[in-house]
């Protein structure tokens, strides 16, 4: 549960962080957009050549003179007209040029805009891809965490089941042991009596009370290992006569290994690892 909350809060934090990064990048990218570049220059040149006869030319010239005059006049007129026309054309051309330039600029602008847009789109796409990738990773991570969590829960469930099983088994064993013990206890009482009698005789045979005063008593705690070997003898109650106590200790050590059942299970069941001896010889 704690883990789940932590994972969730962490993914939320990541999402927010990513959005902030994206927004920041967008702002920076607008500032960094490239400036428009200058238009290319245009040059236009036109040349006309003509050859003619002299008389004719004169006549012609005259005529032409007349004509020319006329023409001149008309020409002047026409020129004026032409000029006017030219001016108009020029004017028109200038308007067209301006329009073309405008259009060109417009196109360049459009192109530029398109490029910017493209750039921005690409950038956005990259950011998106990155975001998506991060999102995917986050999701993957989350998924793994979920999986782990699920696994842990499953494991715990399994352990609990196992523990339950063991407990039940133990309970059953206890019950069985108790039942067995009840059956055994009758036999064990006899067995213990027999073991006690054997150990008693073995220790008595090694307890040399020669020359000791009467009326003394001491208590020994004796540790045994399976097989009956005495591993430790402790005087837990002194008689007040150190020689008496010492003879008692020697009696137990000398009687080692004490006669206990060979079978370790019986040895353990009858709790023979520790025996208490009271040395209290009668007169």
């Amino acid at each position: 549960m704690e883990l789940g909350w932590f994972v969730k809060s962490r993914s939320a934090f990541y999402a927010v962080l990513l959005h902030i990064i994206a927004a920041a990048l967008l702002i920076i990218s607008l500032d960094l957009a490239p400036k428009p570049i200058n238009q290319p220059k245009q040059n236009i040149n036109i040349v006309n050549a003509v050859t003619v006869d002299k008389k004719q030319v004169e006549k012609e010239l005259q005529r032409l003179k007349n004509e020319e005059q006329q023409k001149e006049e008309t020409g002047k007129k026409r020129l004026a007209e032409l000029e006017k026309k030219q001016k108009e054309a020029e004017k028109k051309l200038a308007g067209a040029e301006k329009k073309r330039l405008e259009e060109e600029k417009k196109a360049a602008d459009a192109k530029k805009k398109k490029e910017l847009e493209q750039e921005k789109r690409e950038l956005d796409e990259q950011k998106l891809a990155k975001l998506e990738k991060e999102k995917e990773e986050l999701e993957q991570k989350h998924k793994i965490e979920e999986e782990n969590k699920r696994k842990a829960e499953e494991e715990e469930k399994k352990h609990k089941a196992e523990d339950d099983r063991i407990r039940k088994e133990n309970e059953l064993q206890q019950q069985l042991a108790a039942e067995e013990a009840e059956i055994q206890s009758g036999q064990d009482v006899q067995l213990i009596d027999r073991i006690k009698a054997n150990i008693y005789q073995s220790v008595v045979n090694n307890f040399n009370k020669s020359g000791l005063p009467t009326g003394l008593s001491c208590i020994l705690r004796v540790q045994l290992i399976p097989g009956g070997e005495v591993t430790n003898v402790t005087l837990v109650e002194l008689s007040g006569n150190s020689v008496f106590d010492q003879r008692a200790v020697t009696a137990v050590n000398k009687a080692s290994p004490l006669p206990v059942p060979d079978d370790i299970e019986t040895f353990e069941r009858l709790n023979l690892r520790q025996i208490q001896f009271q040395f209290k010889p009668e007169e």
């Binding site: 352990h159 196992e162 523990d163 063991i166 407990r167 133990n170 064993q173 206890q174 042991a177 108790a178 013990a181 009840e182 055994q184 206890s185 064990d188 213990i192 073991i195 006690k196 150990i199 008693y200 220790v203 008595v204 045979n205 090694n206 307890f207 040399n208 009370k209 020669s210 020359g211 000791l212 005063p213 705690r221 006569n241 150190s242 020689v243 008496f244 010492q246 003879r247 008692a248 200790v249 020697t250 009696a251 050590n253 000398k254 069941r269 009858l270 709790n271 023979l272 520790q274 025996i275 208490q276 001896f277 009271q278 040395f279 209290k280 010889p281 009668e282």
Partner: protein, 438 residues
């Protein structure tokens, strides 16, 4: 985490088993109400000797072994049975000794110093514990070495029996040697408790009797017939200087010291009949203790100083009676058999050693003062003059057989008897001296 749970489960299981109605949880309890009464097994390894050249002046371990064996409380291992002969602790293989049921081991070394003195190192070891019980390094000298060996035996005895050993003590006794001309030579002697180092204190052609040690062991009171009539003397053991204490007409006999050494109980017949008297040794004043037509003799002083035991035939035959040291009505103590005489108190005053006679057979017996129960200790035909060792564990006495009269010792329980071979004829009236504290 779940393994802990498992442990707890097992723990609970064991607790449940522990509390189960069969109650195996309690220790098995066994009461040892009997035992055996055997001499203690002990092994005394021949002591090492520091000088490679030459033999040691004495065999220390042999002296210790003989002392312990003579007490009857020990069963020393025969030398040829020793599984190993270690001289120091590191060499001891305890398992080897345990296999043989050997409980105690004595090892040691005799060393000689540059100045010619001796040092005896010994250790008493508990074989089953694999530990030293006691160990000493005792400086000694050539003359003292036997004494040192006895002192070691005393230490061993005290550690394993629980009562101070009495091996480093002395005995006093009378010897009688028949001369070729038919006359006799009597000597008063003292010797080590094992009979060694005899030393003559007095020689006389006339009988010497009843030596008695003063409680401090510095003087001996005795009876001498050197002036034809019996006389009681007190003689200094070291200086040989002696003092005549009682030389009254008639009997002057059987001196017995009070435990504080200030008074002497004696049998005197100066008033017509043999009676018990007490003399103050500094003032020489006499106090009569008994007053009876029968013979009252052989007084013994209880160690608490309160009582005197003596032999009296006031009941028709010799029996033991007891009376307050300040006088009063005596009380009969022995009732078994027609003859009980010459009482000696045990050091704890609970018993009396006596000569018990029946059908002309005389043996050493011990009488319980409270119950009057009598326990015969010896088996010969003529055993006399019992004397307790200062620790009360042994009685020295004389026994008369085809070889004459010899010294013998028995344990107080009668389990061990040993002859003490002394040179030079018949031995009479041994008296076991007190502990020596120096």
């Amino acid at each position: 985490m779940h393994s802990t749970i498992r442990h707890i489960n097992q723990w609970i299981l064991s607790i449940l088993l522990f509390l189960s109605p069969i109650a195996y949880g309690a220790d098995l309890e066994i009461i040892i109400d009997k035992g055996i009464e055997n001499a203690l097994p002990i092994a005394i390894v021949p002591f090492g000797w520091s000088q490679a050249a030459g033999l040691p002046p004495i065999d220390i371990s042999a002296i210790i072994l003989n002392d312990l064996a003579r007490s009857g409380r020990f069963a020393p291992m025969e030398e040829q049975d020793l599984p190993q002969r270690p001289n120091d602790f590191a060499q001891v293989n305890f398992k080897d000794w345990q296999k043989l049921g050997m409980e105690n081991l004595v090892i040691g070394q005799l060393g000689q110093t540059a100045t010619g003195d001796y040092v005896v190192n010994f250790r008493l070891l508990d074989v089953y514990k694999g530990k030293q019980i006691v160990g000493f390094s005792i400086p000694s000298g050539k003359v003292r070495l036997r004494r040192t060996a006895h002192e070691i035996a005393d230490i061993i005895y005290e550690k394993l029996i629980g009562v101070r050993g009495a091996f480093a003590t002395r005995i006093a006794y009378i010897t009688v040697i028949k001369n070729r001309d038919g006359t006799k030579k009597y000597t008063l002697q003292i010797a080590d408790a094992d009979g060694f180092n005899p030393q003559i204190l007095l020689q006389s052609p006339e009988p010497l009797l009843s030596p008695a040690w003063s409680p401090d062991g510095k003087k001996i009171a005795y009876v001498s017939f050197e002036s034809k009539n019996s006389t009681v003397y007190v003689q200094d053991v070291i200086t040989g200087k002696r003092e005549k204490i009682a030389s009254n007409p008639g009997i002057n006999s059987a001196p017995a010291w009070s435990p504080d050494g200030s008074r002497l109980a004696m049998t005197l017949s100066k008033d017509g009949n043999a009676e018990i008297y007490v003399m103050n040794l500094s003032s020489k004043s006499l106090q009569r203790v008994t007053s009876n037509a029968a013979i009252d003799t052989e007084p013994a002083w209880s160690h608490n100083g309160n009582m005197l035991a003596f032999t009296s035939d006031r009941g028709g035959g010799p029996q033991i009676y007891e009376v307050s040291a300040s006088g009063g009505e005596p009380k009969r103590l022995t009732f078994e058999g027609p003859y009980n005489a010459r009482p000696r108190y045990s050091p704890d005053d609970t018993k009396l050693a006596v000569i018990h006679g029946e059908n002309s057979v005389y043996r050493i017996a011990v009488v319980d003062r409270k119950s009057g129960q009598l326990n015969i200790l010896t088996e010969s035909r003529l055993d006399e003059s019992p004397s307790f060792s200062p620790n009360g564990h042994m009685i020295i006495y004389t026994t008369t057989g085809f070889r004459g009269t010899e010294l013998a010792a028995t344990s107080t329980d009668g389990s061990v008897h040993q002859r003490l071979a002394l040179e030079g004829g018949e031995v009479r009236e041994p008296a076991w001296g007190p502990f020596m504290n120096q």
